[in-house]
């Protein structure tokens, strides 16, 4: 089974082509250029470097969020369009899980961190169990202080992962002291190989319904829902 894995959730972009568990090609770019410009050329290069044509692919695996709203839309739109147009399988994997999967051989709690501004983070808690990475606390958008309070009560070692973890280092150490550990820099970048492995055996989803996991409503929608309680499930887009 030929897999294409895509992650453009944050500044770094990672793309890989796999043949089942075996990596055929991978590129990770950690340089400020827009994902919109570089994602498709990278896919084209890697598929060609793997000796394949796009129609040889069997499954697309997308890191579907959370992350930068524009970033996750690029990977999700590319992934769902490719899966739809080639009539192949599509799955989504949490972008936080992809980061957590960089940390192996540990029983400690793994906490991927993405900056969500105003001292909020996108985060979850992951742990390895019998070779499986388990999401023990669901991914969410949360104030950093609340996350740290919760982690403190658990009194267990925690490994923070993700490029954004560094900017919260001071607050994290203040709360957790010696229980806090930080992944080395090279493990803070998403690797599409890991993404591919995580998504390989997941059941395919509907290409039509596939959307990013933003984990947050827009501010406009939030304000509107506050002013209009009980509404919110109406259909707002219509074919004309």
């Amino acid at each position: 089974m030929r897999l294409l894995a895509l992650d453009t959730s944050n500044e770094a972009m990672s793309v890989a082509v796999l043949d089942n568990d075996r990596l055929l090609a991978q590129t990770t770019i950690n340089h400020e250029r827009t994902h919109s410009e570089q994602l498709l050329p990278t896919i084209d290069d890697l598929v060609a470097a793997s000796g394949l044509q796009p129609e040889d692919l069997d499954k697309i695996i997308v890191a579907d969020g959370p992350g930068s709203y524009t970033g996750i839309r690029i990977a999700v739109t590319t992934g769902k369009t490719l899966a739809y147009t080639l009539n192949i399988a599509l799955v989504g994997v949490s972008s936080l899980e992809v980061l957590a999967a960089n940390i192996t051989d540990t029983k400690a709690m793994i906490v991927p961190i993405m900056n969500a501004r105003r001292n909020n983070v996108f985060t979850g808690v992951y742990q390895w169990d019998k070779g499986q990475l388990i999401n023990v606390v669901t991914d969410r958008h949360v104030p950093l202080t609340l996350l740290l309070t919760e982690l403190t009560t658990l009194r267990q070692p925690v490994i923070f992962v993700g490029s954004d973890a560094a900017m919260f280092r001071g607050q994290i150490i203040e709360a957790l002291g010696g229980l806090a550990h930080f992944a080395p820099d090279w493990l803070n970048l998403p690797q599409a190989l890991r993404l591919g492995q995580l998504g390989k055996d997941l059941p395919p989803v509907s290409v039509y319904d596939f959307v990013p996991r933003y984990l947050r409503l827009t501010e406009a929608e939030n304000n509107w829902l506050k002013a209009h309680p009980g509404k919110g499930h109406d259909v707002y887009v219509e074919k004309v």
Binding site: P41, Y69, R73, P212, A220, Y236
Partner: protein
């Protein structure tokens, strides 16, 4: 090249997700439009992040519907086209990303299209175009007089200095208590009232082809506020009629001035505001008297708003010129024709 040229065209620059299949640049095989108007009505205007989210929800559904309705498969397609600007960057990116991906997957050329060129080329579904021609492109974001020396060549000869005409409609609509988008309802009210307020016709007397609508908008707002303060209620119909008369007067006069400076045989009225009855009537009336030889083309309602078919029509010209994009095509939210 095969006699039958089929272009799959994407449009997602604002609050409509649309995909069309266009044959030979002048025949619509399908033109699916999913509009988000109801969603943005909640907020009184288009919220860019909400628009981007809706485009992702819709893009595959709309693409599939367009291909099915046209009854074509990928092997039948000649090329894929997409609006890459101007517009909302996050919204544009969804169409650009989907179009690039389909072009890549099926080894098809990718044609980047300027959204305003699309609006103008919607006229191609009405009749063949003869160059040189003039276009008045009026929408929520644009008010431009465009001179086309030849197919696919666009020069701005007149532009708005501030608000676009459609933008003024929405702002005045808000004052009159009309939900976004206000154009249609203001137009309807205007036909029930009279121009009693004589609002200013900005830049009408100036010797250029440019527009300005912010002064007019302020004049309407001040008039209503002043009446509120002294406890007077003004006729909404007369306010709408007076506002519309001022907009239409300026649009028609500047177009006439443009026709004098640039003698052409065809005038295209393009963009969302082209659906305005008051504008159509006044333009046809004025030109029948002063420019009887100029043929005025106003595309039908479904083609004046944002849609994929117009992008397919403009793409047909770009394809003939081999103006193609590579896989690194990005959205260009500020894309514009060159000024003359």
């Amino acid at each position: 090249m095969a006699a039958r040229e089929l272009i799959l065209a994407f449009e997602s620059s604002c609050d409509e997700t649309s995909v069309a299949v266009v044959e030979n640049g002048n025949k619509i095989l399908s033109n699916i439009i999913a509009t988000q108007i109801k969603s943005h009505q909640r907020f009184g205007g288009v919220v860019p992040e909400v628009a981007s989210r809706h485009h992702v929800e819709q893009i595959t559904l709309v693409t599939d519907a367009a291909l099915k309705e046209a009854g074509v498969t990928y092997t039948d397609l000649t090329a894929v086209a997409v609006t890459y600007g101007p517009g909302l960057v996050g919204a544009l990116l969804i169409g650009v990303t989907a179009a690039k991906t389909i072009a890549y997957a099926h080894h098809l050329p990718l044609i980047p299209v300027n959204h305003m060129a699309g609006h103008i080329y919607a006229a191609r579904f009405v009749k063949p175009l003869t160059y040189p021609l003039l276009a008045l492109a009026v929408s929520g974001g644009h008010t431009e007089l465009v001179y086309m020396k030849a197919a696919g060549e666009f020069e701005i000869i007149g532009d708005t200095r501030d608000d676009a005409a459609g933008e003024a409609y929405d702002k005045v609509g808000r004052i009159l208590g009309i939900p976004y988008p206000a154009g249609k309802e203001v137009d309807r009210l205007a036909h029930l009232g009279h121009d009693t307020f004589h609002f200013p016709r900005a830049m009408d007397k100036e010797d250029n082809l440019d527009f300005s609508f912010s002064g007019l908008k302020s004049a309407v707002i001040n008039t209503v506020h002043h009446a509120d303060q002294i406890g007077e209620t003004l006729s909404r119909e007369d306010l709408a009629a007076s506002f519309q008369a001022a907009v239409v007067d300026v649009l028609v006069h500047k177009t006439q001035k443009a026709l004098t400076n640039y003698p052409v045989k065809q005038l295209i009225v393009a963009g969302g505001v082209a659906a305005n009855q008051g504008l159509k009537e006044a333009m046809n009336e004025a030109l029948a008297v002063h420019f009887p030889d100029v043929d005025v083309i106003v595309p039908p309602l479904r083609l004046t708003g944002d849609n994929g078919a117009m992008i397919g029509a403009a793409a047909h010209i770009e394809l003939a010129k081999r103006h193609l994009a590579s896989e690194n095509l990005n959205a260009d939210p500020g894309l514009s024709f060159a000024h003359a």
